[in-house]
């Protein structure tokens, strides 16, 4: 009898905690929406910011964030794809494989500000790219390498053995196997990785705040050495003037745009992942 009462109590406790956690996190989303929505006047996405960001929209900030996202993923994808395929298809030493996996995990856990510091010194100072969108993209490309690698590896390693066997029966060379069988079959996994990478870049602030961004003066970069305005740093600067109601309202608006972007990318990634799981179950 007593045991049952204890069990009920514990159950009640953990169910309450679960409900509370979900409620808390949904509240956070709701607050973001409620705070950000008023700022989203019709042209918020399509207007320049004016008056130190207190008025206008976030057109060029969004553009800057998109530029960094896309370049970073374009730079990172070939390296991620190549290194994973090398590790899964060509490398035979098990020790080396474990070492490379460890490296991926460590890179994945490395605080993002360190990518900013070291990346600025290497790309910005030694390679002389300065504070620019190129420096930022390169830094972010290294930062999302593990994200892409993990997704791609999952897809490649999850490939049913029969595909490979079929390839071998047909007498395909390993390279032919890769671009006839592995790449097409892992397409959805790779796309999932791309979108998760995009989402991670979109949310990153610390690695780019002193390496790639500017607050005003630039709309779109005209050369490789131009910095760009981004949503993330825009929010940071506006948020530090929290007593000015207009600034804060604009910050919430930009926050809502940013989170909308991140969520959209995550949802697309999920859609592709479900597709991948379905394909592999066929």
């Amino acid at each position: 009898m007593k045991a049952k009462a204890v069990e009920k109590l514990v159950l009640g406790m953990i169910s309450t905690i679960t409900v509370l956690v979900v409620a808390l996190l949904i509240t956070i989303l709701a607050v973001l929406f409620v705070k950000g929505y008023p700022a989203l006047h019709s042209g918020f996405l399509f207007e320049e910011s004016r008056d130190f960001g207190r008025a206008g929209g976030v057109l060029y900030q969004s553009a800057g964030t998109l530029i960094l996202m896309i370049t970073a993923v374009l730079l990172s994808l070939p390296v991620a794809l190549g290194s994973v395929l090398y590790q899964t298809e060509y490398l035979s030493s098990g020790k080396l494989k474990t070492f490379l996996m460890q490296l991926t995990y460590i890179l994945n856990a490395t605080p993002t500000i360190l990518f900013g510091l070291v990346g600025y010194l290497f790309f910005g100072v030694y390679l002389d790219a300065g504070v620019s969108w190129v420096t930022g993209s390169l830094i972010l490309a290294v930062m999302i390498l593990p994200t892409l690698q993990v997704s791609i590896r999952e897809a490649v390693e999850g490939l049913p053995e029969k595909y490979r066997e079929a390839g071998m029966v047909l007498g395909l060379t390993r390279s032919a196997q890769i671009y006839r069988i592995i790449l097409p079959q892992c397409f959805y996994g790779i796309v999932t990785g791309i979108f998760l990478g995009l989402a991670r870049v979109a949310g990153e602030t610390a690695a780019i705040m002193f390496t790639a961004t500017t607050f005003s003066g630039i709309q779109l970069p005209q050369s490789y050495s131009d910095p760009v305005p981004t949503l993330q740093t825009h929010i940071l600067i506006l948020a530090q003037e929290a007593v000015n109601p207009e600034s804060l309202a604009q910050a919430w608006g930009a926050g809502l745009v940013l989170i909308g972007l991140v969520f959209m990318l995550t949802l697309v990634a999920w859609a592709f992942r479900t597709r991948m799981v379905m394909e592999s179950e066929l």
């Binding site: 045991a3 069990e7 953990i14 905690i17 679960t18 956690v21 979900v22 808390l24 996190l25 949904i26 956070i28 989303l29 973001l32 705070k35 390296v79 794809l81 190549g82 090398y86 590790q87 060509y90 490398l91 030493s93 490296l103 991926t104 995990y105 460590i106 890179l107 994945n108 856990a109 490395t110 605080p111 993002t112 500000i113 360190l114 990518f115 510091l117 070291v118 600025y120 010194l121 290294v142 690698q149 060379t173 390993r174 949310g203 990153e204 602030t205 610390a206 002193f210 993330q232 929010i235 940071l236 948020a239 929290a242 910050a251 926050g255 940013l258 989170i259 991140v262 995550t266 999920w270």
Partner: protein, 298 residues
């Protein structure tokens, strides 16, 4: 030497693969990845050598960070550890009990719902949490604890707890859910109740995954820059045992001072030394996490 080189080389490609051009391209890509990852650590190490030479052990044991005179990182290290410890203490029990409930008791559709919300939230950018932190949490902390100001280590710890909650929850839940259903059937067949099954059979089976989730959460909390920078108060001092005062963490110090010292001088080297310290702390966590997982699998 020559022999071992040859042996290693044959390890790099299986079979006749080294005759294919594609293999070399992939190997090159892998080399870029390895250089990038190792380069990060090497760069941090090389760049922080000057400060190690100038300060020696005092770099980690000194309390005073006076730019141009002396660089002691102790207050940042202590700040980082306190904030992380607080975040983990707050988040862990909540995340784990919610994970247990979600995995063992919720219907599949509800479970997917909870997981969906958590995974979305795990992706919310730090800057958004920072914005929420200075607008709500700092004010709440100030008022509910009757403090003079809301920018404290406690505020930062709470904010981090909220930030790592979804990550720890989903990963721990994954680990619990991955335990084969047969274990539960056998345990319940032996007369254990559902909760007993969950606690005595499922949790031990999933322990490696759970530890991994926890370590990842700790690493994430330790390295978070932007949200902490906005609420922590940024005062370099050792807070003693009082959490309700302003302080500084390693990432927030880096975020505040990096622009001023970019690329040269002892000040920069000192910041790189801080970065190296952080890198070591997080790497050890990650490494022991993966090692632990491997060990418990065996």
């Amino acid at each position: 030497m020559k022999l071992s080189y040859k042996k290693n080389f044959s390890n790099c490609f299986s079979g006749q693969a080294h005759l294919e051009p594609l293999a070399w391209i992939f190997a090159l890509m892998n080399l870029i990845f390895v250089t990038g990852a190792m380069g990060l650590g090497v760069f941090l190490l090389v760049q922080s050598l000057p400060i190690m030479k100038a300060e020696g052990l005092d770099f980690w044991l000194g309390e005073n960070w006076w730019v141009g005179e002396t660089y002691g990182a102790l207050s940042m290290i202590v700040g980082s550890l306190m904030v992380t410890a607080l975040a983990v203490t707050l988040a862990l029990p909540i995340a784990l009990s919610a994970a247990l409930y979600t995995s063992e008791y919720l219907s599949p559709s509800l479970r997917r719902g909870v997981k969906g919300v958590m995974e979305l939230l795990a992706g919310v950018p730090g800057i958004i949490y920072g914005l929420l932190g200075i607008s709500f949490l700092a004010v709440t902390v100030k008022e509910s604890f009757n403090l003079l100001y809301g920018n404290t280590l406690f505020t930062a710890g709470c904010l981090l707890a909220i930030m790592i909650l979804p990550t720890v929850l989903t990963l721990a839940e994954d680990a619990l859910h991955a335990v084969p259903i047969e274990y539960r059937e056998v345990a319940e067949g032996l007369g254990l109740s559902k909760l007993q099954t969950a606690l005595r059979v499922v949790v031990p089976q999933a322990s490696s995954g759970i530890v991994g989730a926890i370590l990842l959460g700790i690493g994430k909390a330790m390295g978070e820059t932007i949200a902490v920078l906005m609420v922590v108060g940024s005062l370099d001092r050792i807070p003693g045992w009082n959490l309700f005062v302003s302080g500084q963490t390693i990432p927030s110090k880096l975020g505040r001072e990096a622009a001023e010292a970019l690329g040269s001088g002892l000040h920069w080297s000192a910041l790189m030394g801080l970065g190296l310290t952080l890198f070591f702390m997080v790497s050890i966590l990650t490494y022991s996490g993966t090692r632990f997982t491997e060990w418990s699998r065996r």
